[in-house]
């Protein structure tokens, strides 16, 4: 592999420069095609962006701050601007991570910070298993944030700068998605850019451009993804369930002991996904067990509250961004009705 022992000279520099020029031309073309199709630059959410928020939460010791834990559901359902206007002057930390269980993040807030505000955790029964797995946040929390430093901050800032200026850096326009689109929709380019990440980590789903048939396909996809995860063994085994519940319980106890509040919420889902969730993790067996066992300040299941159960999740999993402000108001009204005070001195 070394450059020695070969007399034949190859002009690698010229080849590389030519390849760079070709790459730049193709990427420019791709960028223009995407923009012409209506796509906009999207913030690429990553571990660095999560760590920026987590760093700020770690410094916060006021009792009226709010942290939001969960996955894409809570990041789409809770409108950060609505929360900020509802609780002016109070800090809100969106610490959800797409496709990841909040278990490790809750443990992290309990063990590694002195956070004593209110933590709203969006929890599904299949996420109670807290063992490290691809569906957990251990990797982000333990392996990434534990070594959060100046270099990672610079890298995070650079990533932010690039993703907010170039459409093709959005994972939805990656090669993997081009292949998925081709197989599922018959065309490589999806001009329906419905999932937008804002700079404050607000996730917005725009389902307006989709037909009923598109949405039905999305619902089936949500169900398939769920079945695949449940099939991959997320926590149904009694030993795993009990161990995960015990870890959650310890974390909640630690937070409440220092004056914090932990609210566990089950956010709305619908259609085939909801049926699959009920089939694999029947509410009576799993959610009710959590309510009995966890020392949380309050529990809220969307199905129990008429003000929450009426919301639609067009892809089965997420609220449309037009509903987020109304849903946020309804959700926090309901939590407050359960006796949780977000404005504690």
């Amino acid at each position: 592999m070394s450059a020695r022992g070969n007399d034949r000279k190859t002009d690698w520099i010229t080849s590389l420069l030519a390849a760079l020029v070709c790459t730049a031309i193709i990427l420019t073309g791709y960028e223009l095609v995407l923009r012409a199709a209506g796509a906009e630059p999207n913030f690429r959410d990553n571990q660095a962006r999560w760590s920026f928020v987590r760093e700020a939460a770690g410094r916060d010791q006021s009792s009226d701050s709010i942290a939001l834990l969960g996955a894409s559901r809570i990041r789409a359902a809770v409108s950060l601007s609505e929360l900020e206007s509802r609780y002016p002057g109070q800090s809100v930390y969106p610490l959800g991570y797409i496709g990841r269980s909040p278990c490790a993040a809750l443990q992290d807030l309990a063990d590694s910070t002195d956070f004593r505000g209110t933590i709203v955790v969006s929890l599904n029964a299949n996420w109670v298993d807290c063992r490290p797995s691809p569906y957990q946040m251990h990797r982000t929390v333990v392996r990434y944030h534990a070594e959060w430093n100046w270099a990672r901050k610079i890298d995070g800032q650079a990533s932010e700068f690039i993703t907010q200026n170039l459409v093709f850096t959005d994972p939805h326009h990656s090669i993997r998605h081009l292949i998925v689109n081709t197989l599922e929709a018959g065309t490589p380019l999806s001009n329906k850019d419905y999932e937008i990440t804002r700079k404050n980590r607000q996730l917005e789903f725009d389902f307006a451009p989709f037909s009923a048939e598109d949405l039905a396909q999305m619902q089936r996809r949500s169900r398939r993804a769920y079945i695949r995860r449940v099939g991959a063994g997320e926590g149904k085994r009694p030993d795993r369930w009990n161990a995960g519940r015990s870890l959650l319980s310890d974390a909640i106890e630690k937070i409440t002991a220092r004056g914090g509040q932990v609210v566990i919420v089950r956010l709305p889902t619908s259609g085939p996904l909801l049926r699959a969730e009920q089939e694999h993790f029947p509410r009576e067996q799993f959610w009710d067990d959590l309510v009995d066992a966890l020392p949380a300040t309050a529990f809220l299941h969307f199905a129990d509250d008429p003000s929450l159960s009426g919301f639609e999740t067009p892809d089965g999993n997420h609220l449309d961004h037009r509903d987020a402000a109304r849903f946020t108001a309804a959700l926090f009204d309901a939590i407050e009705r359960d006796g949780v005070d977000f404005k504690r001195p």
């Binding site: 190859t10 520099i13 070709c22 790459t23 610079i154 197989l183 991959a232 795993r240």
Partner: protein, 474 residues
């Protein structure tokens, strides 16, 4: 600082920007040393102390060894170096494992002991740079190398950023002489170095992280007995992921070093074309296997003073057990080492007993031994990748028991996975006895540009987050 990160791109621009403008060789080396420390500090500044300790200890010990006239004195300084380096390595890497094992043994004996949690981060690259510095003191002790006259040269050897955190493990004998005279940097070296870097980055970002990791993660996160085909795909996917991840890093390291004018040793030589298991280990992580061959296996053999089969087998067994434990502090890795040791021992035994038979000369056997070596490696990685022994055993038994968890790969997974698997195997068989560089140089210019363009596009457009390298954990 990952090679596949924006901050590394910035770092590389600064390094190359200044490196070529500094005329004085001594200052150029000092600059590289400073940047190498900065590179490590980007991970963890406090742990830089460990590298400085290791550097100081071995520089001092080697000089004292060289000055000592009595063998006993030399041995004392060697022991000081070994205890110092391996002590630090053991504390950070094996502390938790030893503590857990102690607690388990105590529990068996009826003693309930609950120690404080061992929340210590493993310093990145500690196994690599520790072995690198040890090679120096061991060579000085054996009289094969004179101690370095320059502390900063020695420090640069220990800390050289392209290979600091995941190898290849460079011997002092191979690197220190390169520091004595100004290196020759040619346009050809820079161009080929950058090409190697790009190839390595492609392997890492596209094949290992973009294609294989999501599939492998899904399969190895599953519980219970899975469909055989799913487990098989996960195992094959992990061998390709691990190879592309680690050989990708090595290739990037070699490419970067070449751009700076230095030559690093090869770490992989088409391992999936190996004919037999010993051949596989001569082609996989070469810098580690040769390290253990020279500094562990050979001394054990020498100690025995006879060339009996039993001695060879004992030396091989012990060496592979240690190789297993080098990879990770868990019983899984120890068992992985034992598995490899048993296979190697059986292979050597059979070679001695029936290896001389003419029947093996038939070409078909070459393919059978190649497939056999891969299949054995495939099963060995169950221990390497599984969470624990019970998990590895569940995955293994999935081939024989009724399915409990109906996890199946999607069409997209298969479409993405099969081409790189086929390509890696085809490439390895092509490269078995040929130089990759020769093939690359013989490629027509237009095709070369097309391939480089395709790789660049794939790197940029695969859309995966920056993943750490698998071997960083070792």
């Amino acid at each position: 600082m990952l090679f596949n990160s924006y901050i590394f791109a910035l770092f590389a621009i600064i390094v190359f920007g200044f490196y070529f403008t500094i005329g004085d060789w001594a200052w150029r080396k000092r600059f590289l040393l400073g940047m190498s420390y900065l590179f490590y500090a980007a991970w963890n500044l406090p742990y830089l102390v460990l590298i400085l300790f290791s550097t100081g200890l071995d520089y001092f010990a080697a000089h004292r060894m060289a000055q000592a006239s009595r063998k006993t004195t030399k041995s004392i300084y060697l022991v000081v170096s070994l205890v110092g380096n391996l002590g630090v390595l053991s504390y950070f890497k094996y502390g938790n494992f030893l503590l857990d094992s102690f607690v388990s043994v105590a529990a068996v004996a009826g003693i309930q002991y609950e120690p404080m949690p061992w929340n210590i981060l493993l310093p990145v690259g500690i196994s690599f740079y520790t072995f690198q510095t040890l090679s120096y003191t061991l060579d000085v002790y054996r009289g094969r190398l004179k101690p370095s006259k320059s502390l900063s040269d020695f420090a640069l050897f220990v800390t050289f950023f392209p290979q600091l955190v995941a190898g290849p493990i460079v011997r002092a004998r191979a690197f220190l002489p390169q520091l004595l005279q100004p290196v020759t940097i040619t346009q050809d070296k820079i161009g080929w170095g950058l090409t190697l870097f790009l190839l390595g980055l492609f392997q890492k970002v596209v094949v290992a992280d973009g294609i294989m990791a999501p599939i492998v993660n899904t399969v190895f996160a599953a519980d219970g007995y899975l469909p055989s085909l799913t487990v098989f795909a996960g195992m094959v996917g992990f061998t390709i992921q691990m190879y592309c991840d680690f050989s990708g890093y090595s290739m990037m390291a070699i490419g970067l070093a070449l751009c700076l004018g230095f030559t690093l040793p090869r770490n992989f030589r088409a391992p999936f074309s190996a004919v037999g298991y010993q051949d596989f280990w001569r082609r996989w992580h070469i810098s580690l296997s040769t390290f253990f061959r020279d500094y562990l296996y050979a001394p054990i053999r020498k100690q025995a003073k006879t060339r009996s089969l039993t001695n060879v087998l004992v030396a091989q067994f012990f060496t592979f057990l240690i190789i297993g434990l080098w990879h990770g502090a868990s019983w899984n890795f120890a068992l992985w080492g034992v598995f490899n040791a048993v296979i190697i021992v059986i292979e050597i035994g059979l070679q001695r007993l029936i290896g001389h038979w003419d029947v093996w000369k038939a070409k078909a056997w070459k393919y059978i031994f190649n497939a056999g070596a891969y299949i054995l490696f495939l099963f060995s990685i169950l221990l390497f990748r599984a969470v624990d022994f019970a998990h590895a055993s569940d995955l293994f038994l999935s081939f024989f028991r009724p399915t409990e968890t109906a996890l199946r790969l999607s069409n997209v997974d298969w479409i993405l996975m099969i081409p790189p698997v086929v390509a890696v195997f085809a490439l390895h068989h092509t490269l078995r006895d040929r130089s990759f560089e020769a093939i690359a140089r013989a490629t027509p210019a237009i095709l070369r540009v097309a391939v480089l363009t395709a790789m660049l596009l794939a790197i940029i457009l695969f859309g995966q987050p920056n993943e750490e390298f698998i071997y960083f954990q070792f």
